[in-house]
Symmetry: C2
Subunit: 238 residues, 2 copies
DNA sequence: CAATTTACTGCACTCGATGCCAGAATGAAA
DNA sequence: TTTCATTCTGGCATCGAGTGCAGTAAATTG
């Protein structure tokens, strides 16, 4: 059970996954753009957050790179950030989450792109383009991304945790595929498409993160083209 | 006594993954076939194990089904089995491992089948048949398997842990694919094949475990055929 | 200043996991 | 029988992740 929640009625009130910080919007500690407020000068109401999710993430990543993931305790991260251990868990549900930047945001973007695609564009083309599009990063972010992906692929604890994230990704794709195929997201066809697509994306990431082999988006492109040709090298590719 | 192999510098110190019990061979507690020993009756040397991996697994599975995975502590399992908590961890590296029966054995069988396949049989056909073959279970085992897979797919902790197991599966397939494709197992092509195949297998399991939809082997068959046709329904050529 | 709102954090606790080590149960050699 | 080597057992202590609770700190508004 579990996987695909086909319905739309959102009965669950729970605050789902922590997306930003203690409440929801980053107060100002990270992004210096608070001019977008209402007409009047009205900062957020209560005590301002002492750090930000992104700040913590960067800090943690740094420690992981230096002394290893398992050798870095949450206490280490917290005290390095000048906050209490308990506060760390207000920003992240779990230690591994610090490695997954704003993954949830990317999920939403992916879903949007899939939904926007013209109906007559072949399913796998839509998927390929959408995944490519959601993985275009600026040169500045690329290094950090590579670091994240490398960790995620090598540290057992992170490999394990990644499954939960990837399953969410899968759900998005399965929902899209189900729409195209005219079946339920949980059906074999939609699930196969979704999980195979996930496989292609993971292969691209894996190969990109380990060997410095070229452009990430290009790897995604190649992996998905392989998928579309039944995993046989096509005679006349690009 | 198998291959004792005294000398030869044994660089691999780690006892790899616990495959059977405290040492390596099941003493006798579970499988009543010890006639394979030498001519003489020579039971194992030290104190006999008080239970077996399989016994513990069944017991744990039972508790999980009754009170839920998270609600069942290792202490619960241990005391239900009449052993100490510490002893549980002699049989299993971690709590989730109790749900994964003899997965490692299946991995070996898969690798064997892949290696035995004739060179001229198409790669995906070999994969499809091999996965199907390693998933034929007797009626007696099917219920337990369904229970396992259902847990693995629904309990977050188990979903997470599954990634580690599946990665081992992927490695086997990637090695095979690399041989067929003439590339390294870590290359994009082999990785894509391996992870897409894993996706197909997972989709089959998922769909089989959730909906009582028919035969497991048949689901595997269909998922892999979808893969081979570029994820396009192929009953009638377009 | 008081009230309100929001964030921080220490404390206590549960549970998974691990190292250490004494002890128990067995077969074999002396 | 005694002794020894071998192998499994399991209590104890310890660490780290994660959580509920309760109290505190900092900001805005009136």
């Amino acid at each position: 059970m579990g996987h695909v929640e086909a319905d739309a009625d959102e009965t669950k009130t729970g605050d789902q996954t922590k997306t930003d910080g203690p409440t929801r919007r980053t107060p100002s500690a990270d992004t210096p753009d608070q001019d977008v407020a209402d007409t009047e000068s009205s900062g957020p109401r209560g005590r301002p957050a002492s750090t930000s999710r992104h700040e913590l993430s960067r800090l943690a990543l740094d420690l992981f790179a230096r002394q290893g993931y398992d050798e870095t305790t949450v206490d280490d991260i917290a005290s390095a950030a000048g906050i209490g251990r308990r506060t760390f868990f207000r920003y992240f549900d779990a230690k591994p989450d610090a490695v997954w930047g704003e993954f949830d945001d990317e999920l939403v973007r992916l879903a949007d792109r899939l939904a926007e695609a013209p109906e007559d564009e072949p399913m796998l083309d839509v998927l390929r383009r959408a995944v490519m599009a959601t993985n275009r990063f600026g040169a500045g972010e690329l290094d950090e991304l590579r670091q994240r992906m490398s960790l995620i692929g090598s540290v057992p604890d992170l490999v394990a945790h990644s499954a939960v994230r990837y399953e969410a990704w899968c759900d998005v794709v399965a929902t899209f595929a189900a729409g195209r195929l005219g079946c339920a997201p949980g059906d074999l066809e939609a699930q196969t498409v979704a999980r195979a697509a996930l496989g292609a994306a993971m292969a691209a990431f894996s190969s990109w993160a380990s060997t410095g082999g070229g452009d990430l988006v290009d790897q995604v492109d190649r992996a998905f083209r392989l998928l579309a040709t039944g995993l046989v090298e096509s005679p006349s590719p690009r």
